[in-house]
């Protein structure tokens, strides 16, 4: 696993993307720190809250190559033939990406100290600042796992980046987007039905088994219909609630209110674990139908 980790880290360090991401974090971090401080706000958590948009660009940049490139260059053959479990390979890659993601944050951690040392007024409360930075890193980790999974589905690096960006964008605006769906039970039903169709399409794309995907989707839609018939009133606003749980970015909000939200940390770890599991499955699937 260390060999995989080191090679992935090495390829990130030899490429530009890691540095572009680092530069973005430090540049925008600096701009926000200065701007907020000029306005008299002394809370570093605002800086981080504003900085989350960086992940929209950073995660596609960092993760696009990780598996799609291997597949494109056919080096994934080597990974498959190594006497290592796919879990270890995926974990090695993931940890390398997380390392690259966290390194600039360590530099960013100096900003509050710098401000406190140089500023004549309004010291930044360090405890909440570092608590939020930890939350920020965990948010990045969860998103990295999602990016890694998307890369594992693609053979084209550009496509992986594009798809990843789209997903990040949707996740970023998920809550405002669900606001457009009315709270009526009917609207929830329609939204669920569309979501199941989308899921069916993804299933079809992944398994390349049209019949299976069709049956599975039909069963889910039927189950949805039955549930709706039985508990019609509960459907009101249900879709927004469910989707709200998927809003990875929104979990960071509590950190910006000076709360070290342990539940959010656990949530991020769970998201990362689920997507790493998906990544391993997606890699293993190639063994079954190359």
């Amino acid at each position: 696993m260390t060999a995989i980790y080191e090679r992935e880290l090495d390829s990130q360090m030899n490429g530009l993307t890691g540095y572009v991401y680092g530069a973005l974090v430090l540049l925008f971090g600096g701009i926000y720190v200065m701007a907020y401080h000029l306005e008299g706000a002394t809370d570093f958590t605002y800086v981080l809250y504003s900085l989350t948009f960086i992940f929209l660009i950073a995660i596609p940049l960092l993760t696009m190559r990780s598996i799609a490139e291997e597949r494109h260059q056919k080096t994934d053959q080597l990974l498959y033939s190594l006497p290592l479990s796919m879990t270890k390979i995926v974990l090695g890659k993931f940890l390398a990406l997380v390392t690259v993601m966290v390194l600039p944050l360590l530099v960013l951690a100096l900003y509050p100290l710098l401000v406190n040392a140089l500023a004549t007024s309004g010291a930044i409360p360090l405890k909440s600042a570092y608590g939020a930075l930890v939350g920020f890193a965990f948010l990045g980790m969860a998103l990295t796992a999602i990016g890694l999974f998307i890369s594992s589905l693609m053979e084209n690096v550009g496509l992986a980046a594009g798809a990843c960006f789209m997903v990040m964008l949707i996740l970023y605006f998920l809550t405002p987007l669900t606001g457009y769906i009315s709270d009526s039970p009917g609207a929830s039903l329609a939204a669920f039905a569309v979501a199941i169709l989308l899921f069916g399409a993804i299933l079809w794309r992944l398994t390349r088994n049209g019949g299976f995907a069709l049956v599975f989707t039909a069963v889910l839609e039927a189950a949805l219909g039955v549930c709706f018939a039985l508990w019609r009133t509960r459907f009101g606003g249900l879709f927004a609630d469910v989707v709200g749980n998927l809003a990875v970015f929104d979990r960071f909000d509590s950190f910006s209110y000076d709360i070290f939200d342990l539940r959010a940390i656990v949530y991020y770890i769970a998201v990362a674990a689920v997507f790493l599991f998906f990544t391993v499955q997606s890699m293993e699937r190639r063994r079954w139908a190359a």
């Binding site: 260390t2 060999a3 995989i4 080191e6 090679r7 090495d10 390829s11 030899n14 260059q73 056919k74 080096t75 994934d76 053959q77 080597l78 498959y80 033939s81 190594l82 006497p83 290592l84 479990s85 390349r208 063994r287 079954w288 139908a289 190359a290």
Partner: protein, 328 residues
């Protein structure tokens, strides 16, 4: 030793490999021969654990590739059709990565790298970026990668494709030298390659094993008979009268020329060992001078063409399979 039994791989409707059974003995070079699309790469991918099988079993030194993948894979070095090289690394960096991923301890790493690089002759280019290496050297780096961590079996998928003639000769020599110490399986659709480097041939067509044995065995097994070409100083009738009584001679075709010589084509039914001697004695008994005598046999190429021609089910190959290496 590799044992493959009843291996089948289907991609949806299409069957790439069907009911493949064979045994690979230690210390020999095996040639996996077959036309493009015969299922060679699919089989090799399954043997190395890169691909799952629909049915069947593969064991390497007793370890099942599907049930104990880590232990089975540790015994195999694999060079896929397209060498899996990270072109942004130097050869040394790349090999060091592969060695560590295969579990070579840090203390043994340098020695292991030097050994693999020395055997494959890439020591000179060790510190150059792989992307700047010629195709021949890339192939060598690929083979060096397969050799790391001392596997007992090396599997090479079309190792000489795309190389120039000199490189081909070099790589073949390398493969032969590897075959002295360990088992090598290589796939190819080039017949001369099999004749040049392989001790055993596994001929597959449309995902089925149609023949196996040594190159010489295949040649003699599949020749419907042997033809002797002679040039004698005699008339057509005289020569025919001398040869036709010889046991085993099926047919004599004589074509005399103006100079009093006669070209003969003698078809022999069975592949009898001392036929050439008996033919020459029969002629000399009658004081017929033999000017030339040569034995002509079906080449591996004929075998290959005969077996892979679009002949659907062939009765002969089935018999061969029973006689093949399965018994051990």
């Amino acid at each position: 030793m590799i044992q493959v039994s009843h291996l089948t791989k289907r991609y949806g409707e299409r069957t790439a490999v069907e009911d493949l059974t064979f045994t690979v003995e230690s210390g020999l070079v095996y040639g996996f021969l077959g036309p493009n699309g015969a299922g060679k790469s699919t089989t090799m991918n399954i043997l190395t654990g890169c691909l799952s099988a629909t049915e069947g079993q593969v064991t390497i030194d007793g370890f099942d590739i599907f049930d104990q993948p880590a232990r089975a894979k540790a015994r195999v070095g694999y060079l896929p059709e397209q060498p899996p090289l990270y072109t942004g690394m130097t050869a040394r960096e790349y090999l060091s990565f592969v060695a560590r991923a295969k579990g070579v301890k840090l203390a043994a790493l340098d020695g292991e790298l030097e050994r693999a690089m020395a055997v494959t002759g890439v020591t000179d280019v060790a510190d150059r970026l792989i992307r700047n290496l010629s195709k021949g050297y890339r192939q060598r780096v690929g083979i060096a990668q397969a050799l790391l961590a001392d596997p007992s079996v090396i599997i090479l998928d079309e190792p000489t494709v795309g190389l120039d003639p000199l490189q081909i000769v070099e790589i073949r020599e390398l493969i032969r030298s590897l075959g002295r110490e360990r088992t090598v399986i290589l796939s190819t659709h080039i017949l001369s390659e099999v004749q040049a480097v392989c001790d055993r041939v596994l001929l597959i067509h449309r995902g089925r094993l149609v023949a196996s044995g040594t190159p010489a065995e295949l040649e003699s097994r599949f020749s419907s008979g042997v033809t002797y070409r002679l040039m004698v100083k005699a008339g057509a009738e005289e020569a025919r009268a001398a040869l036709e009584p010889v046991a085993g001679v099926a047919d004599v075709l004589a074509s005399p020329d103006e100079a009093g010589r006669c070209a003969l084509e003698v078809s022999v039914a069975g592949a009898e060992e001392d036929m050439d001697e008996r033919l020459s004695f029969a002629l000399s008994d009658r004081h017929i001078p033999v000017l030339r005598l040569e034995r002509e046999q079906a080449s591996l190429e004929d075998v290959f063409l005969a077996l892979t021609k679009d002949a659907g089910e062939q009765p002969q190959p089935k018999k061969r399979r029973r006689k093949g290496d399965r018994a051990s």
